[in-house]
Amino acid sequence: MADKTALARQFIEALPHAVLLGMEPQDMRDGVAVIRMPYKDELIGDPVTGVVHGGAVSALMDTCCGAAVMSHPEISGGTATIDLRIDYMRAATPGQTITTTATCYHVTRSVAFVRAVAVDEDADNPVATATGAFTVEGHR
């Protein structure tokens, strides 16, 4: 299992778009992934407040959900997003790192179901949540 975690980490770090946004994988095992995205000016969506663009949060959520699927013990191989819904509860505080945790909570032969939550330094007060369905390419 350790090999698989290391592989997933390497894979995420090899995704050009995840690298562009500055994503940092923290943990990936048994269907749960944690990825951080430190604040940077390029991610700003609201020039008045300096709040990160929803699209950057979406990209982080999508990556984290995909990583959770790939780290699930019943799944081998890659995955692709079928659909992903993001709910934005509040603006992330400018300057703070956003951390997402995604859980792949159910897997069938063809579909993986995932939910995720994003927080900033105020970890009890979510910034956004996500639910999604992902493809299963190889089932153990």
């Binding site: 050009p16 995840a18 690298v19 020039p47 929803g54 699209g55 990209a59 999508d62 692709a80 993001i86």
Partner: protein
């Protein structure tokens, strides 16, 4: 009968509209970071995401990152909604955005939720998107957006979003 006011010369209208659009787009760092640009036909906007290697999410296929696609569609939805919200005041000359500093621009609609359907693999080439406002209320708006690549009739992604509109500027 009083003589009717002659219509504005076309280049004056175009210049004003394009300057306003440029002010809105250039103010958002993330739009520039992704490389999204907008084309305008009258009041209709088309978002364009020119292909770059940094947009790739699956290097094996290769395919665009779902997150890049989601962001592109959300950018197009918000910009189309904001553009339509400001259009009347821009046309009436009540609002002039040319040379306005980013922090002085009108407040943006805020995303409540955004749902993306991935219909086909995003290919390593340019993508286009257009949004349709299905309801624009005083407080809330619903927007649908469709993204395509080579073939307009074969969208690669579609999305629906709900937004809170900014408080009136009056």
């Amino acid at each position: 009968m009083s003589p009717r006011k002659p219509p504005e010369p076309v280049q004056v209208i175009k210049q004003r509209r394009d300057a306003a659009l440029r002010a809105l787009v250039d103010a958002v760092p993330y739009i520039r970071f992704l490389g999204v640009v907008f084309e305008r036909r009258g009041d209709e906007l088309t978002g364009i995401l020119p292909y770059r290697e940094v947009l790739i999410g699956n290097p094996l296929l290769p395919a665009l990152h779902g997150g890049a696609t989601a962001a592109f569609l959300e950018i197009t939805a918000v910009m189309t909604l904001n553009w339509s919200y400001l259009w009347e005041d821009l046309e009436a000359g009540k609002l002039d955005l040319e040379g306005t500093a980013p922090q002085d621009l009108p407040r943006l609609p805020k995303t409540i939720d955004f749902t993306v359907d991935y219909l086909r693999t995003g290919l390593p080439r340019d993508a286009y998107a257009r949004a349709r406002i299905t309801r624009a209320g005083r407080r809330y708006a619903s927007v649908q957006v469709e993204g395509w690549q080579d073939n307009r009739d074969r969208p690669y992604a579609q999305a629906t979003g709900h937004f809170v509109m900014p408080a009136s500027r009056e």
